[in-house]
Point group: none
Chain length 192, copies 4
DNA sequence: GATGAATGAGTGTTCATTCAT
DNA sequence: CATGAATGAACACTCATTCAT
């Protein structure tokens, strides 16, 4: 949590530099000084905006998660049927990852690092509350299988990550048709 | 030309120490000397068994993947219907992850680290050939949706990881019933 | 943009420590940490002033060579006859080596180490240009034998090193008379 | 001083490997294991033939010096006039260095390393006794300047090293004529 | 005699962080 | 607010040497 002060451009540069470097050379190799150099500032300056390296990395993660949460809730229409809403959210998420593969990749690396333990899970879940709400509604309406929330997301959203990962890492190409099919598969998995 | 012989227990200890430490403190923090200390040997000794740190980590990963591949092919019966085989494999994998959460978690961390790029993907895929074969058979028999292999696995196997991850990281409990349901969901996702 | 300024005394101490240690324990044994300890600074600090160990050693060499070049050109009088100039230079060099046996010994060790290959030979030769000029003048005036510059210096200056080396290493004593004779020998070697 | 045992070929290989490696990568970088690998034997085997690394390097040096001493005394004819003998020796030495630039370069590196202090100077000088004898005869016969032996060799033999070094390191070419002249210069330097 | 395994001590270098300016 | 200088601690790795076989 940065203590917002004068120079927002520095903080933005820092955010971008962190994501870029972690994607390029990995978590372990992304040192404070390298990030600082990438952002065009002094290593010491980082400690004005963030408590320490951990804080920088965690804050960057939370920031991206917030962005994703915001993105999938754009044009969110609670009056629609459950399937429509989920499809909307699903495509929004897919789109976000496609447009920001670097942000997405950062979260993937982060989520499998020990830093993950330092994140306030409640704060993250907050960003995704509306989606949880819709899933619960689907269960109540006997449209969706009555299983734990974790299992549902494992079939709805986790595959997006897997597919995106394959796309990013293995240069695997996706047609519009197969994206459409993918959502159908997600829906088939959870619907009653 | 006689000589002192290589000590198999040392290499085993090294394997276990690597997995344990990476799980406990993460990839980045797992230094060669810490791994050596955990294994009860000198850091220098590691370089007798492995070319360098990278080789140690990659070899450990490949070893686990090989184990998983072996595990899911136990009692593999190609004469069975596609669904039965997949269910068998699915449960085998679930069981393996449940019994070796540390091995599994290591692969998860590894797969999202920059080391991942160093693995010979073909070698890994080899271990999972029979499964790929069954999926293809399902497609030919018009039992399974005709989409890319990456997408199919994203819905069949990736959710296992997500669910297991939740179990490991969030102490989320699973009933036999919900495991059963989970496979049904995987199958519903991919079946025609 | 204020900052802490670089400490000139540190770099001087580093220079002296490098020379001293290389003379005492040799090139191979002079590790970065030993040099740092001798200079009274942290090993890490060296990397603020020099790119790496190689840079430290090469820079130290070039610095000494520059000093020698400067020393032998003091009171250099181009209007004098060739022999007088050479005698002046010869004695200046002899004096420098006598007064700075450690600097001189450093260059001797360096010149026979693999680091030698990393030095910009042109840059070094620049420091000795006037001397080369005088030798050429002597050749033109038919006072000095018309042979390659390398051979001339091999007889004029290289013996100084040999004699000085003997003095430093073997505690061999030199009288003023024998120094005088030594120059005569150098001159006899090259004069026509 | 190796304790000559069964396998002389191993010791020869060791000698050649040591010289080769020191020339290629320098003194500091020439580790025992690298030398062993170059010689095609185990590092441990070196300790059968030599007390330690130092012993290996020093013995190799002494061996080469002995060879040089032997070489310059070939066809040595004590009945000849002083100048003829010196010329003979001078050319023999020049020839040896030309034919064994690697051996020569090893001695140059060694003589400027701290190992040099470990050599029994008397033992080396022994190999060159006849030459010293001739120089003394020249002084007695008032043919050669009456100065210390170190100064005489500094002008007779040291320039050979300087010229050879230039040849080896700087690809500087020598004609037969200039070799002839070089000896004349050496002689001019020391003759009365 | 000869080996590869094994290691404590050390290598050059980078780290996250602090501090005087 | 922002900096480059400074560092103790750690890094991955190699060293010379010993030892059981």
């Amino acid at each position: 949590m940065p203590m917002r002060t004068k120079d927002d451009t520095k903080q933005d540069a820092l955010f971008e530099a962190t994501v870029k470097l972690v994607n390029e050379i990995g978590f372990a190799a992304s040192s404070v000084s390298k990030i600082a150099k990438e952002a065009g500032i002094s290593p010491a300056t980082i400690y004005i905006y963030y408590k320490n390296k951990e804080d920088l990395l965690v804050s960057t993660y939370v920031e991206i998660k917030k962005n994703i949460g915001r993105a999938i809730q754009e044009d969110f229409d609670d009056t629609q049927p459950v399937r429509n809403i989920l499809k909307h959210v699903w495509f929004r998420m897919f789109e976000y990852i496609s447009q920001h593969p670097d942000y997405f990749q950062y979260t993937e690396q982060f989520a499998n690092s020990p830093y993950q333990a330092l994140v306030d899970k409640k704060e993250i879940e907050k960003f995704f509350d509306p989606v949880i709400h819709v899933l619960n509604r689907g269960i109540e309406q006997k449209i969706i299988k009555n299983v734990d929330f974790h299992i549902l997301t494992a079939f709805v959203f986790y595959p997006i990550l897997a597919i995106s990962n394959a796309r990013v890492c293995l240069d695997f190409e996706l047609t519009d048709q197969s994206i459409e099919t993918s959502f159908t598969m997600a829906w088939d998995a959870i619907r009653l």
